[in-house]
Structure formats: C-alpha cells, structure tokens
C-alpha cells in the first residue's frame, strides 16, 4: 500500500517524473559518450557498459536485499553509471568502473536513503574516491600511436583504441599544458581531439546535449552559466595571463568544466532549488574550481569543487529561501 500524498493547494499536474527526467539526461549524454566511443574506441565502450551495468545491478541487489521498492525505471542508476564512465580515462582496467560504480550507488546513494537523499553527486564522489585510490591510473590519459604500438593488426588496434590511436595522445591534457604556460589548440579542444576522460574531451558534443536539456527545460541555465562565467573571471583575475583569450577559452573548454557544469552541477538532488541559491551555487563552484585549478597541485579541480559545494547546498538554500507571498522575510533573531 502506498501512502496518499497530502499537500496544500495550489495543485498542478505535470508529466515530469523522475524516470522521464533521468531518461532525458541519459539522451543528452549520448552525443558526448558516442564521441568518446568513436574517439577512444571499443575500450571506452566497454568501460561505459561496465560502469552502467555495475550501477544498475548494485541498485537492484541492494533494493532486493533490503526489501525496498525496486526503482529500475527511474533510470537514476543508469545516469550515474554513464556519468561515472564518462569521467574515467579510456585506458583504465575494468575493475576500476566496478569499484567506482559500487561505491557510487551503495555508499554515496543507497546508504543515505536512496535517490533524493544523497548529499553529494554519486558519480563524482566515486570519481574522487577512485582518484584518491588510484591516482596514477586515473590521470593516465596517454594513448600510444599506431605506428609505435607494435600491434600485430592495425584494424584491431584502431578498433580498440579508436580514432585517438591513429596519432596517439600525449600524456598532457590541455589543462596541464595551460598550467605549464603553453597554449593548446582551441579548435582541437572544441571538437574534442585532445586527451582527457571518455566524456569530457568534446565541448561541441557536450553543448549539443546541454542544448537538448535546456530546450526540454530539464535544467535551467543559471548554474552552468554562472559557474562558467565565474571560472572565466577568476582565471582573468588570478590566472596570471591577463585577458589572453586563448587562455581563458582553454580554461572553459579544457577538462571537465563543461561536462560538470551542465550535467553534474545541475543534478536536482544536490543543487539548490531556489533561483538565487542556484546563482550563489554557480559562483561558489566557479571560485572553488578556479582555486583548485590555479593554486592547487593538480591541473583539474571540477570534481572536487562540485562535491564540496554539494555539501554547502543546505546552507545556501537556508540563506536564500524566499518568503511566502504575504509574509515578511523573517528577521535575524
């Protein structure tokens, strides 16, 4: 027996359900992951599949054993798995997505009460978990070029390693190049011909997916826009390169900023619900990402910034909750 939902008026009917929203997010992720598979080859496809399967299976088994309601059609585990896979380098061994998926669903999501109760984004928490555990494997983006690979069969090698296998990818990601004072090719970064995790390289494909989400009104532009703008302003002020357009654009296009801003910072559960709060959240994300990228030890800081700001969300919501119509805003006591 389900409990009846009792709530005060006004009431509105909407077709939006968790399942539909999550399915939309999954659809929006297709271009970026398809590009990842094309660029990094079958290795990437296998990692994405393993990650998704682990997440869905972990959720199924947990709900079964704990005698909770089964929620496979909410697709939330699927999206978590897909995002986690897209945040891994294409060369990791298959047990890494398995460990990450189990951690994301079991520890971060289900132990806190399942969807809607997780206090940080499961996919990103799992990525940070893996990053701390296996730092070397998680930051190894190198792909050996076909000519140097010594592969017995060219076709098989290219099938496995994708388009990236033709010329190979050097170990340095665009962000690492930027950090060392160089300037990566912006066109390559926009289309995605650079090193990085499976889903983050192509800005174009991510923007296509983001546009779909924006048109479908699944996400609002507030968080991604304020996030990205803040990163640009922060890089302008503290990056040490002044108004160098290629540097600023490099900061935006490089690394996981676009993927994080559109798909992970906008996660309903772990972002503020108030419009003002979303803007504050976006600015905070930008500031922390800037601090981690420019003053931190590693070149990338999007994941840590997002999961850290996830923790601040209850405070942001408390501070920005609007007064109900007709009520005065409560004064400080």
């Amino acid at each position: 027996m389900d409990l009846y939902h009792v709530s005060a008026s006004p009431h509105t009917r909407d077709k939006a359900t968790t399942g539909r929203i999550m399915a939309d997010v999954a659809i929006a992720l297709i271009p970026a992951s398809a590009f990842g598979v094309y660029y990094f080859g079958l290795n990437a496809l296998v990692i994405l599949c393993v990650s998704v399967l682990t997440c869905v299976l972990t959720e199924y088994l947990y709900e079964k054993w704990m005698k909770k309601e089964q929620t496979p059609y909410e697709c939330s585990a699927l999206v978590t798995g897909l995002l986690l896979g897209m945040n891994l380098p294409a060369g990791v061994p298959l047990w890494i997505p398995v460990i990450g998926g189990i951690f994301a669903i079991l520890v971060v999501k289900q132990l806190y009460g399942g969807l809607g109760h997780n206090f940080m984004n499961p996919a990103l928490a799992a990525r940070c978990f893996l990053l701390i555990c296996f730092a070397a494997r998680m930051t190894d983006f190198e792909v050996t070029a076909l000519a140097d690979s010594g592969a017995s069969s060219d076709t098989a090698y290219l099938l496995l390693n994708g388009a990236a296998g033709v010329d190979g990818i050097s170990g340095a990601t665009p962000l690492a190049v930027l950090k060392e004072g160089g300037t990566p090719d912006l066109a390559d970064m926009f289309f995605g011909w650079t090193g990085g995790t499976i889903g983050e390289t192509s800005a174009l494909m991510i923007l296509i997916g983001a546009a779909y989400l924006l048109i479908r009104r699944v996400i609002s532009i507030r968080i991604p826009l304020t996030y990205i703008l803040t990163v640009v302003v922060f890089a302008l002020c503290f990056g040490g390169r002044g108004a160098d357009v290629s540097y600023l654009l490099g900061q935006v296009l490089g690394g996981g900023l676009l993927l994080g801003a559109f798909f992970m910072a906008t996660d309903y559960v772990t972002s503020p619900i108030t419009p003002a709060g979303q803007i504050v959240f976006g600015v905070l994300l930008g500031v922390f990402t800037g601090i981690f990228r420019i003053f931190g030890g590693s070149a990338e800081g999007v994941s840590y910034a997002i999961i850290f700001c996830n923790l601040l969300v209850p405070l942001i919501e408390k501070a920005t909750m609007p007064a109900a119509f007709g009520c005065k805003r409560r004064r400080k006591r």
Binding site: M66, K67, C133
Partner: protein
Amino acid sequence: MNKYVERVYNGVIKENPTFVLMLGMCPTLAVTTSAMNGIGMGLTTAAVLIMSNMLISMLRRMIPDKVRMPAFIVVVASFVTIVQFLLQAYLPELNESLGIYIPLIVVNCIILGRAEAYASKNPVVLSILDGLGMGLGFTAGLTLIGAVRELLGSGSIFGLQVMPDSYEPLTIFILAPGAFFVLAMLTAIQNKLKLKSATNGEGAQEGERLACGGGCAQCVGRVCEANHDRLNAATADSNGKKEEQK
C-alpha cells in the same frame, strides 16, 4: 552474571567505547592506519585507564566535588606522562608513529568519562575491572578498525602481506576518509548483529529490542507493522515492570 565479570563484559561488548558509546573518536579515527597502531594506542589507553580508575576510585572520598575535574586531569596526566616515558624507552617506534596522540590521552573522553561516571562512585576492584573492560573494548575496536583499514589500504595485516601481489591497495582507506568509512561500516555491522531491525527483519521475537520502531513511511504495509505493535506492547510491558519496581 557475576558483577565482576559483568563489568568486563559491559566494557567490551555492551557499552563498547568505540562502537556503542562513540567516545574517544579523535584517536580512533586518526591513529588506526594500521592494526599495529590500533593495538598500540588501545593498550596504552587501557593501561592509563586502569590505573587512573584505580587511583580515582581510591581517592573518591577525598576529592571535593567542586574540583573533581581538575583532580581527575592531574591523576590522568601523571599516568600518561609515565606511560609516555615508558613508550619512549622501550617502544620508540610505536611512540613515533602515535606521536601527539599519546599526550592527548589526557583529555580522552573515555578516561574522563569513566572517572566521572564510574570510578568516582564505585569501589576499587570494580573500578579496575571497569577500566579493564573499557580498555579492552577500546583496544578491540581500534585494532579491528586498524586491521580493516590496513587490509584494504595496503593489503596487509600487522605488516604481513596477505593480499596477492596483483591487489592494488585502495589508498583512501589509510587516509582520513577511510577511517570514517570503516568506523561506520563496522558500527553498522555490530548494530545489525545486536539489534534486529523492524523494517527488514522477518519479525522479532517477543520482547526483543528493535533498531527501528516500525513507524516510518517505509514500514507501512510490511511485516514490520506487526513488529511495531509487538514492540509497543513490549515497551509498555517493560515500563509497567519498572514502575512496579519503583
């Protein structure tokens, strides 16, 4: 159960300082990076606890109530100083790896807590046994946490390699977050063993304690609703008995 045995049992199982009372979390989380550190910290604390319990119990009629806290601290600090000198002399390596956490035993909640709650009100032998039980419980807790963290975080236990060479250690477990994960998991496991959950169990036996009262939305229409009624009946029953005793 004999009241002397009961004290030790109480410390190790029933009111285990680590998993039940959740006291002394600072050393619990900070030094348990390996099983050896855990057992070292646990035994050091146990030694101080037994001796301070003994002395405070002896002095319990002499210490004025208003200055009992400073008095306890002086007693505990003296024993900690002795123990630290002993460690420096005979176990320098352990002393090195425990570092600042040895002097910090002075303000360990378990030691002050037992002094306040037990030793200052009870006879000497019982207080010593209380210290022994609590100390062993703390040692067991810390060693267990340390062993799990060491196993996952570096593939060994007590420095002995137990995982195969191909095992890649989950480094996070010997870092700070791992301490929280392991503590939480072990606490959950011992809660599971000790308390039947009304939400998930097939139905608790008469009079058993339940972890969940069965009153939440998840429980509606499930087996635990029956458990809920049974739990209410049992609670009412035991409350009635308590009042009778009064």
